[in-house]
């Protein structure tokens, strides 16, 4: 990130970013299950991803006021990898 604060992304840009991140993270961490949600107040509406195997203990990340992420199977990641992903998302969304 540059020192200059990033301009907020428009919704369509955020959606494109999520689609790209989902693809990139899926390639880098095969088997990783992610669900992205669009946040409307208390409602988290499904946006992308997910698998038929429901997870009891997902990691929940609020990316910004518009989007959130559920990592359904964080146990497949080493702690360092999980932290790396969170760090990357922080950079992209300004968590």
């Amino acid at each position: 990130m540059s020192d200059k604060a990033k301009a907020p992304l428009r919704l369509a840009e955020q959606e494109e970013l999520i689609i790209r991140l989902h693809r990139d993270l899926s390639c880098k961490y095969p088997g990783l299950k992610m669900r992205w949600s669009r946040i409307y107040g208390s409602r988290w509406a499904h946006f992308l991803g997910g698998s038929a195997e429901v997870s009891f203990f997902p990691v929940k990340l609020v990316l910004n006021q518009d989007f959130g992420l559920w990592i359904e199977n964080p146990e497949v990641l080493a702690q360092a990898d999980l932290e790396r992903i969170v760090g990357q998302l922080k950079g992209e969304f300004g968590l």
Partner: protein
């Protein structure tokens, strides 16, 4: 809230161009001739065919119209008894032995329409008109929270006084009202069809499910019983398509049984489900409702319709809906008597309302006022009594609202529901919310009936790691924490 004369407002509501993309060759998806032909072709189904269809339902596959028609035409009482059992098996497979409970909250009974069967019709001068102010609404919600409710279905007449901006404000009040340990965690809405941009307003304030009932799928009957705005069949039948297009991805359909032939209406509900699934990547209705026409103040039509449905037929039509769309929630309301509900719930219903009062502003006053009601209720049990009765039947009452707060909506919800996976989360969350209820609101008798159920369902949880997590959460709830969910 639009400060505009109803006759001017009406002219601006309907935007027919928003429906065009959903039509096929300019026509809607209710092909009456085809429905009648299908019912006729399947008028004498073989026993073996009925059993094949039951097996398909039990595998959680949605039925095709010819299969539903065969079930509707079954004349064999023994087979009906089998269908009742299969309906319950399906429900347990998808959702478990739990019933979701909610309260209806009528917010405004001003209405521009003149539906012959409805007590709120504009021409009915025997109805006292009222619209809740935000303060009055907060009092109503406080009263509902005070008996333990966590879910609402808020109901509005179609009128400029209750336009989308008013509805959005009422949702904010509902979500913002707290009382001791309690709060409303999911607000569903039953209101008139909206334009796409209006649905987006409600989406943005966190609406749960948007319900629009077609009332009758039969075009000529629809025209006969509706006047004013609601007479536009297309605007209503594509209302939930527009809601889905706007990003409200939980929608509820329904038919008012008693307006036209019950078999036709079940076929209509199935056609509606299929069209939504086809247009929205497999996502059909989140819930199906099947209210029966009930008496209303100064509304003789409601008692004179030639299509009124008797109790036995009602149980059958609910069963066929259960088998036809195995993975969808089914709502059995307090229009029905407690006796009917206790019977019909066992063919596969998933949600009921309780402690219902459908007058405007009557929860906080603890009164019944027929002059403010759309119709007369059949079941006046308190929430505590209804929960105790359900417990006696072996059902745990769920106040769970986790799904839509965890992104389990739309196609993701449908995917796990169709695969029978949603129960893995439903039952733990039912246990947790039921525990909250017993601690905060239940009578000693209901606690006595409910605690063994929690123990039974907890012991039946299949996964040791899950069991450990639920046990820890139950301990935290006993220690005073609230709103824990998976």
């Amino acid at each position: 809230m639009a400060d505009v004369a109803p006759e001017n407002w009406i002219k601006r509501v309907i935007k027919p161009e928003e429906n065009e993309k959903f039509k096929k060759n300019g026509k809607d998806f209710i092909d009456e001739a085809r429905i009648q032909e299908t019912l006729m072709a399947k008028r004498s189904p073989e026993r073996s065919h009925i059993r094949e269809i039951m097996a398909k339902s039990l595998e959680l596959n949605r039925l095709e119209p010819d299969e539903t028609a065969a079930l509707l035409n079954c004349q064999d009482e023994d087979l009906w008894q089998e269908m009742y059992r299969i309906g319950l098996d399906i429900k347990h497979k998808v959702y478990g032995r739990r019933i979701v409970t909610f309260a209806p909250l009528y917010v405004s009974n001003y209405c521009v329409n003149n539906c012959t069967y409805c007590g709120y019709r504009a021409e009915n001068k025997d109805i006292h008109r009222q619209q809740l102010s935000m303060d009055e609404l907060a009092q109503e919600i406080t009263a509902l929270i005070g008996v333990g409710h966590k879910r609402l279905i808020m109901v509005y007449g179609e009128h400029p006084k209750s336009d989308v901006n008013y509805i959005a404000e009422t949702l904010k009040v509902a979500y913002g009202t707290k009382e001791n340990n309690g709060e409303i965690r999911r607000v569903n809405v039953n209101a008139a069809p909206l334009a796409i941009e209006d649905y987006q307003v409600l989406r943005d304030v966190g609406i749960g499910t948007y319900q629009v009932f077609q009332e009758t799928y039969h075009h000529a009957t629809y025209q006969n019983v509706h006047r004013s705005l609601k007479a536009n069949y297309d605007w209503r039948i594509y209302s939930l398509h527009r809601a889905m297009e706007a990003g409200v991805d939980d929608v509820g359909i329904g038919a008012l049984f008693g307006l036209y032939d019950w078999k036709f209406e079940v076929m209509g509900l199935l056609a509606h489900t299929i069209d939504l699934e086809e247009k929205f990547g497999g996502v059909g209705p989140h819930t199906i409702s099947f209210p029966r026409l009930q008496p209303a103040v100064n509304t003789p039509f409601a008692e004179q319709s030639p299509y009124l449905v008797d109790n036995d037929t009602f149980k059958k039509l609910v069963t066929v809906i259960r088998l036809s769309v195995p993975y969808t929630g089914m709502i059995l309301t307090a229009r029905e008597s407690a006796q009917i509900r206790n019977d019909v719930i066992n063919v596969g219903c998933t949600q009921i309302d309780a402690s219902s009062n459908i007058g405007i502003g009557t929860y906080s006053k603890e009164q019944t006022d027929y002059s403010k009601q759309q119709f007369i209720l059949g079941d006046n049990r308190s929430l505590d009594e209804a929960i105790r009765d359900l417990a006696a039947m072996g059902y745990i009452t769920s106040f769970c609202t986790a799904g839509y707060r965890c992104g389990r909506t739309g196609d993701y919800f449908m995917d796990i529901a169709k695969k029978g996976k949603v129960n893995n989360l439903c039952m733990p969350n039912a246990i947790l919310t039921f525990k909250e209820y017993l601690l905060d609101y239940a009578s000693p008798e209901t606690i006595k009936a409910g605690e063994p159920l929690i123990e039974k369902e907890f012991n039946a949880l299949p996964n040791p790691k899950l069991k450990k997590a639920v046990k820890e959460m139950l301990e935290r709830i006993e220690a005073g924490e609230r709103d824990l969910f998976l």
